[in-house]
């Protein structure tokens, strides 16, 4: 299945892009997506334990099962305000 990934802040700089399409085995979880992203962008390794994953603009847990065309965002620790 295909999902759309958005990167922000530090994650965007590490990935070198704002968004990308990503192909995943069906029944992939947020956690397995993170593993694949770290493979593709090794610089994300150090962020892996700090980022949160949002799907369709809602935070999800790592065992969340992704669906075709989900909008997935990699959310580094926020610092608004």
């Amino acid at each position: 299945m295909n999902i759309n990934i958005k990167f922000f802040a530090a994650a965007k700089e590490v990935a070198g892009k704002e968004e990308m399409q990503f192909s995943l085995p069906s029944s992939s979880t947020a956690s397995s997506l993170l593993d694949l992203l770290v493979e593709q962008f090794p610089g994300l390794q150090e962020w892996k334990q700090y980022v949160r994953v949002a799907v369709n603009q809602e935070y999800v847990s790592l065992d969340y099962a992704l669906n075709e065309n989900d909008e997935v965002a990699i959310i580094p620790p926020v610092s608004g305000g």
């Binding site: 922000f8 965002a73 926020v78 305000g81």
Partner: protein, 141 residues
Amino acid sequence: MIEIVSEKIDITKILQSVEDNSAGGIDMFIGTTRDNSKGKSVLRLEYEAYIPMALKKMNEIAGEAKTRWNIKKISLVHRIGKVEIGEASIVIAVSSPHRKEAFEACRYAIDTLKKIVPIWKKEFFEDGEVWVDAREEKILS
């Protein structure tokens, strides 16, 4: 009034947005950019947001504040892009019949915004730039 803007925040407009004849008090928090961070001189700041999700979370904070406290109106406006030292990056205003609730709801709103709203701050120094990690700042701000 829940907004993300890229120009200077209009504080008077935000104040008007929470005015209510049955409100006895308004508490307003204005977050401004400091000229220093961890002992280093900050030249300027830039904010980036995941805009649709940030607006969604800001609306959730406003709704939750209205559930928890007897408040009349609440507004949250965050600025993104380049923000000069001393300028406002966030303004939150809450009107309430009684002041205790305006204070508590306003403090809840800024504390929660800093935890869950997907907005990031980058500090520019003489010798480089860094995305601020709010986890490190927990004790400080």
